[in-house]
Amino acid sequence: MTALDYIIIAAYLVGMVAIGVVLSRRIGSFREFFVAAGHLTTPLLVCTLVSTYYGLDVLFGGSEVAYQEGVVAWFGYTRPYYVAILLAALLVAPRLKRHDFLSLPDVADHYYGRGTRAVVAVACFLYALPLLSIMGIGILLDVLLGVPFVWGVLVGAGISLAYTVLGGLLADAFTDTVQFALMCVTLGIACALVLRVQGGMDGLQAALPAEFFRPGGTYPPSVLLVFAASALSALVEPAFYQRIFAAINYRAVLIALLLGIALWAAYDWVTTVLGMAAAARGIEAEPRYALLTLTLDVLPAGLRGLFVAGVLATAMSTIDSYLLIAGGNLAYDLYRPLVRPDMDDRAVLRLTRSMTAAAAAASVCFALFFRTVVSAWIFMSTVLIAAALVPLLAGLFSRRPQPAAAGLASSLTGLGVALLFYVLIHVNGRYDEEWATQIWTFELGGRVFELWQEHAVLFALPASALAFLTARLLAARARARTIAAAPEAYHG
């Protein structure tokens, strides 16, 4: 890193904070703070969706898989998301825009009441903790300045917390636009320069084993299934929902998500190529550090600073957005409805800002607990999918109202099974260095079974669906018995 690189990074950070300060002065109500009062237009939605949803977890997580396994990072890990996002754009978004919701737990409350709202809010809070981007800043500071990972995580969380309380969604979305353009352009240029050095894709094919170009890679099918299942989180993604509620109309959401899919697919592929190029170049680093080490090795002075500024900004925009959601979960979705329903709007706004501190502290704890970016991401998406997917889709797509007990049973069971599974795996299992994950090996009936922590969703999602159906059946029977006991009450 040269002086020019440091000047570019400093100028960029000051510019971002200045935009945040100017726009944060226009926020006076919770609705303006949380969903920008429904004013987001198509280009702003594209920029904020792409840059928020794609933080350092994707950059480092995708390249981490590509560095170890090759193109499966795109085909197996990220491609299922485009299908889920397309379904969200075509099927879920139009139904959501018919109501005046502000958050994902608002939707749960509308269909099932406050109990389900509380469980979904807890799952949403766990999912929204921006621990992956905080881990990313830890990695960045480690690679660039040699700051130990733990200290990097603490510094990243501290800076981001200070930034987050300044701006609401509007300030976040405006800064996202600059971050979006910078991140995409610098990543594209970095890829072109790296390929020139490595002899193009043909050079990569010559340098890497053939397995690197196999779409399924060497992962067991169950892990590929888990990757695909984790993509379902896009159907209940709080940042998506928040931006759908913040959009000026449904048409803006649809165009933004379709353009977003094209940009995400390109971004993921370039990230995959850079991860593979790092492996081909023989870069010896922790897999999650590979992309960064490679790009800093290849980019010239000036561009290097621009690239690092883009990486930092991407992390900050994601941390800002998700801390905002997590703070809203605690204040607007949990505290106000359950503890102080008479709380006024200004008090909710103040409480939301202060709750971001709690979210940042929780993020640091989780960031230090998980050893890889991918395993942390799978845990968070598992919790959200298990608690929210079944009840919300059933509520949105059923013609008849569903019983409140079904929503509560489904979300509680899903969340409970997911958390219990992780506890069991961590108590009974061991960390496997080869697969970089926690695995529990046990014998049953003379056969040896292996349970990975990533398998949680394969148990929690069916359990959530089963609980929903069981509670629905029991509610229908109870209703039938009541009708049989007093038919005149129902038929007049």
Binding site: A266, Y267, W269
Partner: protein, 61 residues
């Protein structure tokens, strides 16, 4: 040219060309958006917005 190479250069083109195009689109839209936002506030921004005024309201004179 292999399919891998073609897809890689399309991706680079989408990132390096598409993202700036959307940013320019946003810049054309930003002025209108900036004017429209803040409508739920009173005319004082930031920390002062929404708080009761101290002293007599000048609009009452």
């Amino acid at each position: 040219m292999s399919a891998w190479t073609l897809w890689t250069w399309i991706s680079i083109g989408v990132l390096a060309g598409g993202a700036p195009a959307i940013f320019v689109w946003f810049c054309r839209d930003a002025g209108r958006l900036f004017r429209e936002t803040g409508g739920e506030l009173d005319h004082r921004g930031g920390a002062a917005a929404g708080r009761p005024r101290r002293g007599p309201d000048p609009r009452e004179d």
